[in-house]
């Protein structure tokens, strides 16, 4: 179970890392911000899987903070880009 969940975390990380291609390609700044959002959500998924795989429930708090900060970052991007 723990090995399977760790492998799942690696798969999730590789999948969203592919999304970083959009940061290089993306014609607009919104595309690059969306790729960063994907990385944030994928990072939350990786943290959740690793928390259960290692039995360390403190990682759930890190995932919670990451979720909040990702929302703040996106809102700050829109606010800064509006000017």
């Amino acid at each position: 179970m723990a090995e399977a969940l760790t492998a799942a975390a690696l798969v999730a990380l590789a999948t969203v890392a592919l999304g970083l291609l959009r940061v290089i390609r993306g014609p607009t700044r919104a595309d690059r911000m969306m790729a960063a959002q994907l990385l944030g959500t994928g990072g939350i998924a990786v943290l959740l899987l690793l928390a259960v795989a290692g039995g360390d429930m403190a990682i759930l708090d890190v995932a919670l903070v990451l979720a909040v900060l990702a929302a703040f970052a996106a809102a700050a991007f829109v606010q800064a880009a509006r000017r």
Binding site: L5, T15, A30, D31, I44, A45, M57, L60, L64, A67
Partner: protein, 92 residues
């Protein structure tokens, strides 16, 4: 029994995360990419959360998992229109 449940839902969640990434890379427009991002990510993360719920040691950790999922859904619903408006306003 709960191990099979967890693995099935986590695999389904990973599938939707991959679909969201594929959409982000292959869709032609910023608005369609945004659609793929918010819906697929919310669903993928939600399936992973549902899969991990039986493995939680107590009610507090399970509630924390659901709070994380709710936060990501709310963030997607709030940020989606903001980014879409920015993307369509600045279209050259």
């Amino acid at each position: 029994m709960s191990a099979a449940f967890t693995l099935v839902f986590v695999a389904a969640g990973l599938l939707f995360l991959a679909a969201g990434t594929a959409g982000l890379l292959r869709f032609p427009d910023a608005a369609t990419r945004l659609h793929a991002l918010t819906k697929a990510d919310g669903l993928g993360l939600g399936l992973i959360v549902i899969g991990l719920l039986p493995q939680m040691p107590g009610i507090t950790a399970a509630l924390k998992l659901l709070a994380i999922w709710g936060l990501v859904l709310l963030a997607g619903a709030t940020i989606g229109p903001l980014i879409a408006r920015h993307a369509t306003e600045r279209e050259p």
